[in-house]
């Protein structure tokens, strides 16, 4: 952790918001996160005279990067070690594409961290929450050298198309937060490009110099992380009582909705509006959102104030229902778990805080939901 000690100061990243040091710390931890990949060239497609046995490329790839951004370093490796000169001249990066071992096409426009986490929740052998903590097994990827299935990749397999998709996601997230894309459109093209360069170079300062104008921060007057003991005091303190700072109306707790996507194993991606605060002014938490969106996997806990215990309701429950009371023991007894940036997220995490601190580079908070195998 000492390596991140320098983020205490706010000198390098400036924006219209005052960003608390703890927010910067979590942003940096997310940003510096990497995942192990094993990229193997499909043995049937290896050109003649290739040095077989070496056709595997290993990399700790940044979670915020995209597969097309790895192509140059993969190419360098293959040229140096595996291919002969003739093959090197005929192969074109534009034709390269990726699958996982099950033959699932890997998306060019998904951050690598999301691809990794999505694989984790979808593969049975790793879905035990306890095993996740030290999961260092690389994600095995098959690389093909020809005939990219354009209809399934849904975009041109090149970094420029990837950049356009990234910008589209940034704008969509901006629209989710504020109901318009003014923050994105008000920054110059050069600055927008700077964000993408930051992703490409895995440069935290370069990216956040611009992104901090778009992705809202937590306000210093609010508790940054959701410490379990403070939840009572927060419930009694409506947001309006915070003596609003000038920038507070642009803060993470004042957005219309937090940009969140929920990924289920091998399955659908769910997205809905996620207000940062509930009607009673208390922060919207992860467990509350999950038990609202997917109650069969995260059954709402009957509140102690209700006399009759109600069974979990199917799709949604009335807004007037008392809020759930999440705790660490609740998380252990549920059938599923939530992974954010590869980390098991506590149910009491506040959605606004997650959106400010653990968001991906494209502005989206990706929550991968896996099934527990140790549930009794």
């Amino acid at each position: 952790m000492s390596a991140y000690g320098t983020t205490r100061h706010q000198s390098t990243v400036t924006g219209p918001y005052t960003t608390p040091a703890s927010t910067i710390l979590f942003r940096r931890l997310s940003w510096e996160g990497t995942v192990p990949l094993e990229i193997r060239v499909d043995s049937k497609e290896l050109p003649d005279n290739s040095d077989r046995g070496l056709e595997c490329y290993y990399i700790q790839a940044p979670r915020v990067a995209y597969l097309p951004l790895l192509l140059p370093s993969i190419k360098n490796y293959l040229m140096d070690v595996v291919f002969d000169e003739t093959a090197g001249k005929t192969l074109k990066e534009e034709d390269w594409w990726f699958e996982n071992e099950d033959g699932t096409l890997l998306k060019w426009h998904w951050p690598i961290g999301l691809i990794y986490d999505n694989h984790t929740i979808s593969s049975k052998s790793l879905s035990n929450a306890a095993a996740l903590a030290d999961a260092t097994a690389p994600l095995r990827i098959i690389m093909h050298l020809a005939s990219p299935p354009a209809d399934k990749l849904l975009m041109q397999p090149n970094p420029e198309a990837c950049k356009q998709a990234f910008m589209g996601q940034m704008k969509e997230a901006d629209f989710i937060r504020w109901g318009n894309t003014k923050r994105m459109t008000s920054i110059r093209k050069q600055e927008q490009d700077g964000m993408w360069e930051g992703v490409k170079d895995h440069n935290f300062d370069e990216y956040w110099r611009v992104a901090s104008k778009i992705i809202p921060t937590t306000s210093p007057v609010r508790p940054q992380s959701p410490p379990p003991s403070s939840s009572v005091s927060m419930h009694t303190r409506p947001p309006s009582a915070d003596g609003a700072l000038p920038s507070d109306k642009d803060g993470a707790y004042n957005v219309r909705s937090v940009p969140v996507r929920i990924y289920l194993p091998d399955g659908p991606v769910l997205q809905d509006l996620v207000p940062p605060l509930l009607e009673d002014g208390s922060p919207h938490t992860l467990s509350r959102y999950l038990s609202h969106l997917i109650p069969l996997l995260f059954p709402p806990k009957p509140s102690t104030t209700t006399t009759a215990a109600r069974p979990p309701l199917p799709a949604s429950f009335p807004g007037g229902r008392p809020s759930t009371t999440p705790s660490a023991s609740d998380a252990r007894s549920s059938m599923a778990f939530a992974l954010i940036q590869g980390v098991l997220a506590p149910g009491e995490s506040e959605m606004a805080w997650l959106g400010a601190c653990l968001t991906g580079a494209d502005g989206w908070l990706n929550v991968c939901v896996g099934l527990r195998t140790d549930h009794r």
């Binding site: 998306k107 426009h109 049975k124 052998s125 879905s127 035990n128 306890a130 095993a131 849904l154 975009m155 356009q164 998709a165 910008m167 589209g168 996601q169 704008k171 969509e172 901006d174 629209f175 989710i176 318009n180 894309t181 459109t185 909705s257 996507r261 289920l264 194993p265 399955g267 659908p268 991606v269 769910l270 997205q271 809905d272 509006l273 997917i294 069969l296 996997l297 059938m335 599923a336 099934l371 527990r372 195998t373 140790d374 549930h375």
Partner: protein, 113 residues
């Protein structure tokens, strides 16, 4: 890793997951708006299966316009952004619909790239 780690998730959890994988037969109304010199459709409102991906909306629009695969066509939600082609229509509808319509603008040139 112990044997317990490799156990199947409980049946209850798998059944719950299956519920959320079922395709919703719900249809939603999409309103197409031409931008710039893009041709205007005779019919503007269409009912589209919400479980479809946005790519299906793009393909539908191309067909209605009689566009060939190579012809340039840019699509935007609410005059503001291009969604990912694999975004389910239901997600876009839930987040961005206006008066129960999902407004899809289309252009032959990049408008809000």
């Amino acid at each position: 890793m112990t044997a317990a780690d490799l156990a199947d998730p409980p049946t209850e959890a798998l059944a719950a997951l299956q519920t959320y994988k079922q395709k919703d037969p719900l249809k939603v109304v999409v309103l197409f708006k031409a931008i710039g010199n893009a041709p205007i459709l005779k019919q503007k409102f269409y009912k589209i299966t919400a479980a479809n991906r946005f790519q299906a909306v793009i393909q539908f629009l191309r067909r209605e316009l009689g566009y060939k695969p190579g012809d340039p066509l840019f699509t935007y939600i609410n005059n503001a952004f291009s969604p990912a082609p694999d975004d389910p229509v239901i997600n876009l509808y839930k987040s961005f619909s206006t008066n129960d319509h999902l407004i899809v603008c289309y252009s032959t040139t990049a408008a809000w790239g």
